[in-house]
Amino acid sequence: MSNERQLIEAAKAGSATAFADLVRSYSVRLLRFLLTRCSSYADAEDALQDTLIAAYRYLYSYDPRWRFSTWLYRIAIRNAQKIRSENVVEFDDICDETSDPLLHCIAASETTNLWVTARRVLNDDVFAATWLRYTEDMSISDISKALDRSDSWTKVNLLRARKALDVEMNRGKEGNEAYG
């Protein structure tokens, strides 16, 4: 963490190399998340690039009281929304396996990915909250900050998402769908 602080300070001073080192560990995770929110792999890559550029440009506004990942995800969510609104592609349009980048990226897996189900049954913000909770181990308050929501909203919707996913997971097991 202290290393992260040093890299942030160096990046604030204008070191692009320090910033590249800082975000290296986040890039793959961010791209994975953006892939679930964009209509194509190229869009997800563009969103990642825009996110990192915006983060570097406005690094001065980063509040060290936040986790750096929270701040990055907040920017990423906004960029993904922007790219989606520019492309005007609905998820319904990308739900066939040939064009959905998420399905393309899990094609090698022999199991049905629960995140595909999550994207089907949860709305965008609840999906993002669930993702941040279970893949980034973010606290409720960090998720609320990243999504610009209240803590109570986050708590309630995480609980609902969990129930919905439990139901889907059990249904999958009953229907002999392989969930893992």
Partner: protein, 138 residues
Amino acid sequence: MDSLSTQLKRDADLIDVQISAELDHRIAASLAALTPERPPEPVAQQRPAIFWWASALTGVAAALVVIAVFNSQFKPENENVPLIASSVPEAASLGIRTPTIDWKAESAMLTQPLRRELEDLQADLKKAEEKVKQDIGL
């Protein structure tokens, strides 16, 4: 960690993504060409309350000085002349002799009680009223 959490974490890891060399290069080039922005200059702070007190006191002091200077410079030309002179010259100062009036009047003597006087006046008033009514034909 429960089964759902484990499953979600594992499924996230199964999403196979890679930062391609081309994307990495693109991002590095974008960052190298960029200069992080500086925080905006802080807006000039509001003046402290003591500033307004100091301004008010300075203003009052200046007003007092102006009043004092004005008063010290103003001296009447002849201090014996009253500042407010009467517009009507007094007769004595003009040497005019005021005529005296010889009043010849006697003080009224009440010969009848006031009650009788009142009754007479009311009777006169009634007569006058009847006369007026006759004149206008009522």
